[in-house]
Symmetry: C2
Subunit: 148 residues, 2 copies
């Protein structure tokens, strides 16, 4: 290594890819979060609703934690305001007293119906520098990157 300043300025390919990933992702996430925020909503809570919906409308908190990739305490904290807003419902599990069954309400469902398409549209617009075949290439490369 010649000197530290040159070392930090001349990044190797892996690092360039790393920082590009971080930056591109941050920009897209910002678009999405701003959309939800502008509607008094919150990306993390929406992901919970989507995940409940994917499961068919009911799910356990611990499963949500795995799917979303956050900790169990955080799931509790996310569910509280969702329940207060009437978007989900908690019922205790009939067989297993430790479990709580989370179900999405019809209000939760209509919130998704009303907002998800536009949110997807905003994200898609932010990606419009890439053609469809480039998006497909990118997806393949990202999925290959994940195999590790």
């Amino acid at each position: 290594m010649k000197n530290l300043q040159e070392y930090v300025q001349e990044m190797p390919l892996h690092s360039l890819v790393f920082f590009s990933l971080v930056e591109a992702t941050a920009n897209l996430v910002e678009v999405s979060e701003k959309y939800w925020k502008s509607r008094g909503l919150n990306g993390a809570r929406i992901r919970l609703l989507v995940e409940i919906m994917k499961e068919g409308g009911t799910i356990l908190p611990s499963m949500l934690a795995k799917r979303i990739g956050v900790t169990k305490p955080n799931i509790t904290l996310l569910l509280v305001p969702l329940e207060n807003d009437g978007l989900i419902r908690r019922t205790s599990h009939p067989q297993d007293g430790r479990k709580t069954v989370i179900s999405i309400t019809s209000e939760g469902q209509s919130l998704l119906l009303k907002n998800l398409p536009e949110n997807r549209q905003r994200i898609a617009e932010k990606m419009n520098a890439l053609e469809e075949d480039e998006l497909k290439q990118l997806l393949v490369l990202l999925q290959k990157l994940q195999r590790n």
Copy 2:
């Protein structure tokens, strides 16, 4: 739209790319953050040191905020422990009394020299599912995505 459950399950290409980006980036960031944490360090503080070094060893906090992409108050909060650990030094600007000149100390520089190469190595290893030409393709696509 047929029904909400199918809608959330069948994601369009843009959304697939979006979520792949988020996931892949999160995994790589986790590797990097764990590395710093295992050494009692912190990715955000390291980024500050690197950015000071890129500038040649001295920089203003407001410039740091722009480069790193965080708010000014956060820069203050990041600089405090760096100064307490003797990794940076604050001096008031000789001409402009509002400004504070941040300079990296020799301790700060040796910390980077000692740890940056291994950190880069860990990140590179996490990417080893991709060949060099694939990394180059990915970089090109990410840079094109950013043009927006």
